[in-house]
Symmetry: C2
Amino acid sequence: MLTINYANCLRDRVGEHGLDPARLGPGSDAESAAKSITASLAKTRGSGWERWRELWNNPMRAEHLGAINTLVKEREGRFENLVVLGIGGSALGNIALQSALNAPTWNLMAQGKGGGKPGRSGGLEAPPSTRHGCPRLFVIDNVDPANFRAVMDVCPPKKTLYNIVSKSGETAETAAGFMIVRDMLAREVGKKASDHVVAITDPEQGTMRAICDEAGYATLPVPEGVGGRFSALSPVGLFSAAMCGIDIEGLLDGAGVMDQRCSDPDLSKNPAAMLATLLCELAARKGKPNHVMMPYANSLYLMADWFRQLWAESLGKKYSVDGEVVYAGFTPIKALGATDQHSQVQLYREGPNDKVFAFLEVEDFDADITIPAGLGVESLAYLEGASMTTLLNSEKRATEFALVESQRPNLTIRFPRIDAQHIGEFIALWQIATAYAGHMLGVDAYNQPAVETGKKATFGLMGKEGFEEWKGRVEEGLGGSGFVV
Amino acid sequence: MLTINYANCLRDRVGEHGLDPARLGPGSDAESAAKSITASLAKTRGSGWERWRELWNNPMRAEHLGAINTLVKEREGRFENLVVLGIGGSALGNIALQSALNAPTWNLMAQGKGGGKPGRSGGLEAPPSTRHGCPRLFVIDNVDPANFRAVMDVCPPKKTLYNIVSKSGETAETAAGFMIVRDMLAREVGKKASDHVVAITDPEQGTMRAICDEAGYATLPVPEGVGGRFSALSPVGLFSAAMCGIDIEGLLDGAGVMDQRCSDPDLSKNPAAMLATLLCELAARKGKPNHVMMPYANSLYLMADWFRQLWAESLGKKYSVDGEVVYAGFTPIKALGATDQHSQVQLYREGPNDKVFAFLEVEDFDADITIPAGLGVESLAYLEGASMTTLLNSEKRATEFALVESQRPNLTIRFPRIDAQHIGEFIALWQIATAYAGHMLGVDAYNQPAVETGKKATFGLMGKEGFEEWKGRVEEGLGGSGFVV
């Protein structure tokens, strides 16, 4: 079970930059706010844009698992590569799950025989791990031609399954990638091309739906009421995970456990409510709107990218739900421990005191390493015989101590270990915390009005019918400047 | 030649959130400050901690190139893998250069025959590229046991060259990695183990120097007066680059060209002075201390990590050079276009207006892709026949437009193309801009006093002799709290 230790967010530890614990305790405003938001969320869960909160409960859970497992069984063992085409919420969850739960060298490992679940990477003296029959995974979430070409070069269409993820089919980046892939498949695979595509899209309507129906592509649903950034535990994130041997039931189990804990009206027992309260209060009262997520584990680093979208896009809003101009939101920043101690910690300790740090700590790595003796250098003797986990976690504790000494508030989310269950807990924790923070800030956590302008301007610049005027607007707005050096 | 367009940092474009151009023009304080800092930097260049500014000039240039090329010739074609062990400035440049100048699929490509320089990734219909005899590259810059093991699993010692980068040899993370590798080599390679190590370290003194001398390892120097974060274009960054076929002379040529431009006392012609002026002024006068670097090119994304260290660690300082408490510094943030339009741009437009955005734009990608016709979907017809570069750069322009509309200041650094010359320009640009910004903020850009506490606390927790009291301090400071949920 994940725990959150927030002692270093409090005044006892970080002085005037911390919160008064009485403000969080029995009878406090924060406590009663949490209680009333919990009641409100209990009413909205499972409806409107909060249907994501039912992803781990039946009937949604059983439906999705059934459909995913059927498709995985049909496709598994037949492809060397799985290429996901999606962007934003249609890619970040996929990347985060793979990075958290499979080895960083996954694509370099031998495919091996089918059957069984892949283990984590093997031991220093054990035989190298294989992918247990699973494909290599590539997620293309940009329209960079050099990157696109490089991936295509190592993924011959005949050996590749393409997973197109787009609710509408109208997202320019994903559509462009799909059009290229479709053309390659037609030329190189021919009649059986449709067998190489699994689309995740709207089950009823839209451009991609129509394309799939006509081409006979297998599909999985982007469920109604599940927005992109809340879709990691829907088929959007789970299909590619399952293809790569990840325990998707474990993910949903973990999410369910966390959801239970986050349904408690008592602030002191509800991790999501506490997380949202701490971060909102430290921003509002202590001037700390920048939120650094700093895992001490390489495999959790890209989880911070998933968090960045969830937190930024949900809470960064000009208007409150009452129509007031608020320019709300927090700036999520990712860092990696211990690595960024040698890059960012100087600033974190001595620069502007405008951040809260969320460390992610792992108690037990599956495969520890003992630093061997025998070097015979006195100043390094302290490392001999130590475990690498001990070194990593000591560095984390030392950094925590150094930040406290500089009165920089921070908290630690602790993973007993990194596995599907705990990753599921983590995802649910932040999704539910986002719902709380939306209420606390008084904003709609489920829209993203500000991205429309850029989309329309792109259409205009690309010559899409009906958007001609936008081209002129962009050229007028940005054109002709002598301010170049 | 790189250009910087900063029209969108000005009041005409972004209203009260922009600068008055008169403040940058002839007779302004900024102009005379730039002139006097340029004169001051001309005096200090090549001495003290500004010896990095001579890396691209002879005699340093010739010495380093000679030594690197000799070692590369001895080692090339003999190893399947090159593993760099370093952290912070001893890794970020290596990662950035590889990511910028070789394909993202480098480690998946066939090694191929030796000879010739590797090209960029091949064409969609061309035969797949190879590494032209160069090794795969892994940079281990953390002490995460799962990650360490995974890399070791795919790199058998007999086929691997280890590049240890540590000036002193005392950095705990790098030392730990080295101790493990040394032990593996002794067991699996035996007598010829020393042939598998190239160390980059202090040429005269220190723990690693002594280890190398005793073991007979080949070494290259971390030059005196070149700090970690200013060392990308020294042997620290250049050896692994050269092993992977990168044109290291081109890097130094580019840096030299930029250095020339950045020696001009005229602010309006000096890119580094202008960049530093804009960012310092927008922070001081307009409340924008957060600096987002957002390349529209996957290969430049990790260059932003190199920038993050340079900018954060150099400028994030509690004390000014006069001993005043200033809590100076800017928070560097990385983002990727177009990808993060679907993640961060909602916040960037509607959240707190506390950021400046530096877009990186690429005019010409080596390998463009045309989006094919034939899908026959009306709403996607605008993409048919368009090039992917046009789409990517239209998205960039649209985002620029959208940010301007929300009065968010931004600038664009334009690459004619991504090659060694322009990457060298980019590195020199930011290093010199950092020197200017240090003067403008009145801080010492070359120290990092705040990382000492964490190092000592780590020593204490790991039981290093002489640091016993630190263990107690940490335990007292962080121990025993009921604030866990």
